[in-house]
Amino acid sequence: MLWLALHFPLLPLEALPLRQSPSAVVARGRVLVGDAEAVAAGVCAGQKLSTALGLQPGLSVFERVEAREKQALDSLACWAGCFTPTISLVSPDTLLLEIGGCLRLFGGVEAIVTAVLAGCAEQAYSSGWAVAPTPLGANWLARAGAARIYPEPAVMQAALADLPCAIPGWPDEAANRLESFGLRQLGDLRKLPGAGLRRRIGNGPVDDLLRAWGDLPDPQKSFVFPESFALDIELPSRVEHAEALVFVGQRLFAALAGWLHGRQLLVRRCSLQLTHDDGPPTSLALNFAEPAADEGRFVRLLREHLSRLHLTAPVEALRLQADELVDKPGASAHLFEQAPAGEGTLACLERLRARLGEGAVQALGEVADHRPECATGMQEVNFNFGRFSRLTVKDEKTSPQPADSHPSRPLWLLPTPQALTERAGSPQWHGPLKLLSRAERLESGWWDEGEGGATGDVRRDYFVARNPLGQWAWVFRNADGWFLHGLFA
């Protein structure tokens, strides 16, 4: 076995593509990691945000979102499928690739490492790396930024012995104790009697040492490639030019290529969806005359598409989804034909969505909002990439129900209120409307006033009314006059 460890020290930051510099990710008011420009200004991990801003007043900061890092690491694991089927994730920021089994395919360790590092660079991830015979050894050496190949255990052990005791990231108690003994390097620990050391710093660290040195077996849990492919990337700032998206698209397609490789599939059709902060999303369908799994081809096609695309609104997020897949000749994996029993609905929904397109499968939901036009909405059925277990409908608004269940709300609301003329003090809709109720006053929604596409602040007095034809209507009056807003059955 030979392990390539890839450590992504800037993952919290680099999971955010296309951010402006200098920038930093913070957690609980302290800097977690800063980019090169921030670091040059003196920003460093563990610093209070206020200090960091004192050093670099123009710093852009982002709150840490662990799920975002997890997703980035997952997508990197997918991409690594291009190189080897045996990958394992070491949370929060390291990948282990077993490359002993595929040396021949690539023509040697150096060739694989070169290809992997080139891939990381293309996706703009900074990485530390090492190749070593034990997974933990490779991991620690990568963390220390070794950037070397240690093919033989003896060479690796010599290198491990020189590592500082802080590299493994052991619990504070153990680390502090090592500090108090004046033990600085892992090699110092190896020289001490094992039993005495166990009594003082616990079993965990001592066992780790044995695993790293190869004296204890260290089986790894393999990364499982998800059943279907749909991946989102959220952009930290809004992007207004389509060309800038190529870079982000590259990450998505790299992951897709790796995933296809890992699952022994080819894609015939996939779609890229661009989400805007207002207005409907833009969807790009990418069709391949001949099923493909090659990243280079994907990116070429993407460039073509994006260069023709004129963005009507800035983009907030991207989503890539593999819509139509075929088996790689000679491979045996299946996606749809052999859906496991018991997942019928989900598989069906997934297939429906895959067939009909993003956004075609929706559920009707209620939204807690006093403004009638905002009180119901179509909501997307939400599948979580890689987690195929639960079907959820977005319902962020779980606040209490209205005080009374709106006895006077009509079943049918007009898409937009229709202005009514007024004659002799009465609004007119197929004749004069007779107001049958006292005014219900609705004043709400100031928070999205003035934002594109939003309803904004409403200030209205609503009435139930009837016209001479016997039709019941829901009308309101505001500063601009009378409007018809709904019809009662």
Partner: protein, 1027 residues
């Protein structure tokens, strides 16, 4: 058109935290503007806003009803209104009951709290409005009618909902079914409609959500404002509106009826307060003047006693006296300050040690009859023992009769931005980034830039809303907390005077009013404050007592010792009370204090007020006789003569207003209040006009008048009263005397009272060593918890210096040390003192096991084997091979010392680096003085302090320490901007600069900064940053 009269009976202000969206005064003014006859302020289970409402109502001439809305745990929502004083007391007691059984900020009202207590039913002399919820219950109505016979109504609150007509009809039916009258009310949450967004924001904050997600928890419209009578007349039947007036007429209580009474027990049986105060004063005078009371003092005493009797302040003096007597009896050091504290009566009673011999001029400014201000005595106690004093007060006056005054916490700009931002869905990190510096808030032109840096568009609607709402939220009350030490004590139950509630500390309770409220209704408080220096001085006195074999007290310190003043004149004042800051150190050699009163001036002079008011330089010039003291007029000269014609104290400004500009004492007091507030609120202009006119009338030169006004403005809220400075100056003197004559005792006293003061233990120890004090490190066989002085006058540091060590463990170790058998080894120590593994780890890392086990690494290794396991293997001797760990180098030991103790007694880190430093021509601190004024010089040191005073625009003061002393560095704003990273990041900082030497004062003005931290390796030093 006919408009019906109306009284609003259900109205919440922003003292119903996160519900009401208007200040009490706004509600009162708007109600008056709408022509309401009456407004009831009915905050939820609170009377915290009622005093403000009362003051506003008096101004606009609106009738105010005191009330409170409360909801029982099973959801019955009631509004109580006080009919008269009795009803007010009952309501206040009911609020107290509900508050005291719940956590801070919450309340719990049970139904059985409303059980019938007398023939008059529940909560006598209060009226109650029932606000039925969605599901109305006839049973509830009957239950209420029974408990509040003839005093309960159903509140009909119509807000243009989906079906108001149906709601009205159902309430009418309910009223008939339970024989309750109906009355109109509005459940007011804001004074005008325009506050709707603010109200929505508060709701979202209360529910910890955003406005987008708050959904139906938000009110559907803005009808909960003080609606026009026209609109009310369209919504409500006339009878319901008329009923509001009837209820309004039934309530006649006004806060003006409250009368405060002092506790009785402070007076001995058979005495009146007057005779008892005289008795105790005479007794005290006998002690103070064993050879007989001087005539002048006798005259003053008589004058003061007459005045006190006239104003009926005896009980106040006696209350303070009682507390001070308690403190004395248990040997807690205390010292009074404030205008009344500097009276001869307080001197006789032992409330202050500032005697008239030291400064004959202070006592004339004792409380004056004309000013009518309440007496002001703050008493400082040792900070560690103040809890004992508080416990005494609670025990003596019981919880029923005493509580702390409240401090009202209001939204400041940063909090308002943060909360408004969160509710509008902005990311926390970005909000924090924007609010880290608030320069843009005042300079809106910087706003686009700051926002753009965070990827926000300042002109986007949402950002605009954010800023608007934050602006509205500023100044809103957020919660009540405890005043630092103001106690209110009463003769009868306190809860009948003002509601009492819990604080975050289980043993403390607060009333719902803050100190301004108390002033307004004439309640008096005694300030019981904590002062670290008193703890330190008490320790110094008791060490001195032990060493000299006789007890020492403050009064035993020899007064006016020239050597002590010599030391202060050289700015050798690190650790000395009040005059240890850098600014004070720079002032001392200029002011050259030679007597007690000089210290009074010194304490008051180095404050933002006198600095901004440009009083410092004129004063110094005149004092050094470089400028003539001009004659203005006899009256003015008299006021200013003791400060060389420059007003330095708050009292002087008030006196000037009186003698130079014909203010009445009452107006002068208003001026004082306006000065405190003008920076925030403005409002000084009318006084300016009056001052100018008054001084012109007295034919004083206009230039003088202008200067005085400018000085008053600079003074602002930072004017320091002479009456406080006088008490502080005494502690300055005492602590300086110790530093001069007993530096080892001084060091122990300070170390054992940490945390306090400006300087870290490390700096204090370095300073003491420079003064020839011998200091030894903590050692488990020799140290106790506190640092102490051994037979040879050497300071042995206590185990308290070990970061994280526990006092209880240290005391167990001391016990073992006192036993006959010496400690054999670590295992022996661990067994006999019952040490845990953690304790040993801490001792080892502090190198305190040296005498048992050699160097700290070996000790740490050995210690881990020595611990009692307390598990299955307990008793099994672990035989393991001897392991030898290499000893740490000197530099490694330094690092470890700093990590564990925050200090080292080894060589100064810079000693180790001196050779390197010399190669680069960095010189030591001690060389600076000889280099000469304007010399260009390089120096380097560990950054021990960074300070950016608000008074020196943009300048940063850095203090460096090396093995020879401290260097004061001045960094100008341009350099701050250019070398921010070095300035804020370096622990070892090199300076290329130019010296400025003025007499004893040496400053190094930085021209270039170099970060040399890498040289220190991993040396951890902590800078105390003061902002």
């Amino acid at each position: 058109m006919f408009l019906p009269d109306y009284a609003e009976l259900h109205c919440l202000s922003n003292f119903s935290f996160l519900r009401g969206a208007s200040h009490p005064a706004e509600l009162i003014e708007q109600a008056a503007a709408q022509g309401y006859t009456t407004l009831a302020l009915t905050d939820e289970c609170s009377l915290a806003g009622i005093v403000r409402a009362h003051q506003a109502a008096k101004q606009v001439g609106l009738k105010l009803i005191v009330g409170s809305e409360m909801t029982t745990v099973d959801g019955l929502k009631l509004v109580f209104l006080a009919k008269n004083r009795e009803g007010y007391g009952n309501l206040s007691a009911l609020i107290t009951l509900a508050r005291r059984r719940a956590e801070k900020g919450a309340y719990t009202l049970q139904r059985h709290d409303l059980n019938v207590v007398s023939s008059n039913g529940a909560v006598p002399d209060c009226l109650v409005l029932w606000v039925p919820g969605e599901a109305v219950s006839i049973d509830d109505g009957r239950w209420l009618a029974e408990r509040f016979p003839g005093r309960a109504w159903i509140a009909v609150e119509l807000h243009a909902g989906p079906d108001d007509a149906a709601k009205l009809a159902s309430l009418q039916a309910l009223g008939e079914a339970c024989s309750l009258q109906l009355v109109a009310a509005s459940d007011v949450h804001m004074h005008v409609k325009a506050r709707r967004p603010v109200q929505d924001v508060l709701t979202a904050l209360r529910l910890k959500t955003t406005v987008f997600d708050a959904g139906y928890a938000l009110f559907p419209n803005a009808e909960r404002h003080l609606r026009t009578r026209l609109r009310l007349s369209r919504l409500y039947p006339p009878a319901l509106l008329a009923e509001t007036l009837r209820i309004g007429d039934l309530c006649s209580f006004s806060l003006d009826e409250l009368r405060y009474e002092y506790p009785e027990e402070i007076v001995e049986a058979g005495h009146t307060p007057t005779s008892w105060l005289r008795h105790e004063t005479e007794r005290g005078l006998l002690k103070r003047y064993p050879q007989g009371v001087p005539d002048q003092v006798r005259k003053l005493v008589e004058h003061e006693l007459v005045l006190i009797a006239e104003l009926k302040y005896e009980a106040y003096f006696l209350t303070v006296y009682d507390i001070v007597c308690f403190a004395r009896s248990v040997n807690i050091l205390c010292q009074g300050r404030g205008s009344a504290a500097n009276s001869i009566v307080c001197f006789a009673l032992g409330i202050t040690e500032v005697s008239p011999d030291r400064s004959g001029m202070l006592f004339e400014r004792f409380i004056s009859k004309e000013r009518g201000e309440p007496p002001d005595i703050d008493v400082d106690f040792e900070h560690e023992r103040r809890p004992e004093v508080i416990a005494y007060i609670y025990k003596k006056y019981t919880r029923e009769r005493t509580a702390l005054a409240a401090a009202l916490i209001t939204y400041r700009t940063k909090g308002a931005l943060r909360d408004a931002g969160r509710v509008l869905g902005f990311e926390t990190a970005r909000i924090d980034a924007l609010t880290a510096s608030l320069a843009w808030w005042d300079k809106r032109e910087q706003l686009p830039e700051r926002f753009a840096e965070q990827g926000l568009d300042p002109t986007s609607p949402r950002v605009e809303k954010w800023l608007w709402i934050a602006g509205q939220l500023r100044g809103f009350p957020r919660h009540l907390t405890q005043h630092v030490g103001g106690f209110v004590m009463s003769r009868g139950p306190l809860a009948r005077l003002v509601p009492v509630e819990n604080t975050a500390m289980p043993e403390r309770t607060v009333i719902q009013w803050d100190k301004d409220d108390l002033d307004a209704v004439g309640l008096m408080k005694v300030d019981v404050l904590a002062l670290g220096m008193l703890s330190a001085i008490r320790r110094m006195l008791s060490i001195l007592g032990e060493i000299s074999g006789r007890p020492w007290d403050l009064k035993d310190i020899p007064p006016e010792d020239p050597k002590t003043y010599d030391m202060l004149c050289h700015a050798d004042s690190m650790g000395v009370f009040q005059v240890e800051s850098r600014a004070q150190m720079a002032m001392l050699p200029r002011l050259k204090p030679r007597c007690y009163y000089d210290l009074v001036v010194e304490v008051a002079l180095v404050r933002p007020g006198p600095i901004q008011g440009d009083m410092v330089h004129p004063y110094l010039k005149r004092r050094q006789r470089r400028e003539r003291i001009e004659k203005i007029s006899p009256a003015v000269d008299e006021v200013l003569k003791r400060t060389c014609g420059v007003p330095i104290f708050q009292e002087q400004v008030m006196q000037l207003a009186i003698v130079a500009a014909n203010f009445t004492p009452g107006e002068a007091d208003q001026l004082r209040r306006a000065m405190a507030a003008w920076k925030r609120k403005g409002g000084l202009e009318p006084f300016e006009q009056k001052l100018l006119a008054g001084m012109a009338a007295n034919q004083l030169p206009e230039s003088f008048a202008r200067r005085i006004i400018q000085q008053i403005q600079g003074f602002g809220e930072y004017g320091f009263p002479e009456s406080h400075a006088a008490s502080f100056a005494l502690l300055v003197y005492v602590s300086a005397w110790f530093k001069r004559h007993h530096p080892a005792i001084f060091l122990c006293g300070l170390l054992n009272s940490q945390p306090m003061g400006f300087y870290s233990p490390s700096m204090l120890i370095q300073d003491a060593r420079r003064h020839g004090v011998n200091v030894l490190p903590p050692d488990v066989t020799a140290s106790e918890w506190d640092s102490r002085i051994d037979e040879n006058g050497t300071v042995r540091l206590g185990l308290r210096e070990i970061s994280g060590f526990s006092k209880v463990v240290a005391e167990r170790i001391s016990t073992v040390n006192r036993e006959k058998h010496p400690i054999l080894n670590i295992a022996d120590l661990a067994t006999r003192a019952g040490l845990q593994r953690r304790d040993l780890d801490l001792l080892a890392s502090a190198d305190a096991l040296q005498s048992l086990s050699g160097h700290r690494r070996q000790a740490a290794w050995d210690a881990t084997a020595a611990v009692v396991q307390g598990d299955l293997f307990d008793g099994l001797s672990t035989s393991e091979p001897e392991t030898e760990l290499p000893a740490p180098s000197e530099a490694e030991s330094l690092v470890a010392d700093y990590r564990s103790l925050g200090l080292t007694l080894r060589q100064h880190p810079l000693t180790l680096l001196r050779k390197h430093l010399a190669e680069r021509r960095f010189v030591a601190a001690s060389m600076l003085k000889t280099a000469g004024h304007r010399a260009l010089i390089r120096t380097a040191g560990i950054v021990v302090g960074r300070q950016r005073p608000g008074t020196a625009t943009g300048i940063v003061f850095v203090t460096l320490e090396d093995e020879s002393g401290l260097v004061n560095v001045v960094v100008h704003p341009q350099l701050v901007e250019k070398q921010r990273r070095e300035l804020l990041g370096a622990t070892l900082l090199g300076i290329y600069g130019q010296l400025q030497i003025e007499g004893e004062v040496v400053h190094l003005v930085a021209k270039r900064l170099v970060d040399l931290s890498a040289w220190l390796g991993r040396l951890e030093t902590s800078s105390r940053d003061f902002h």
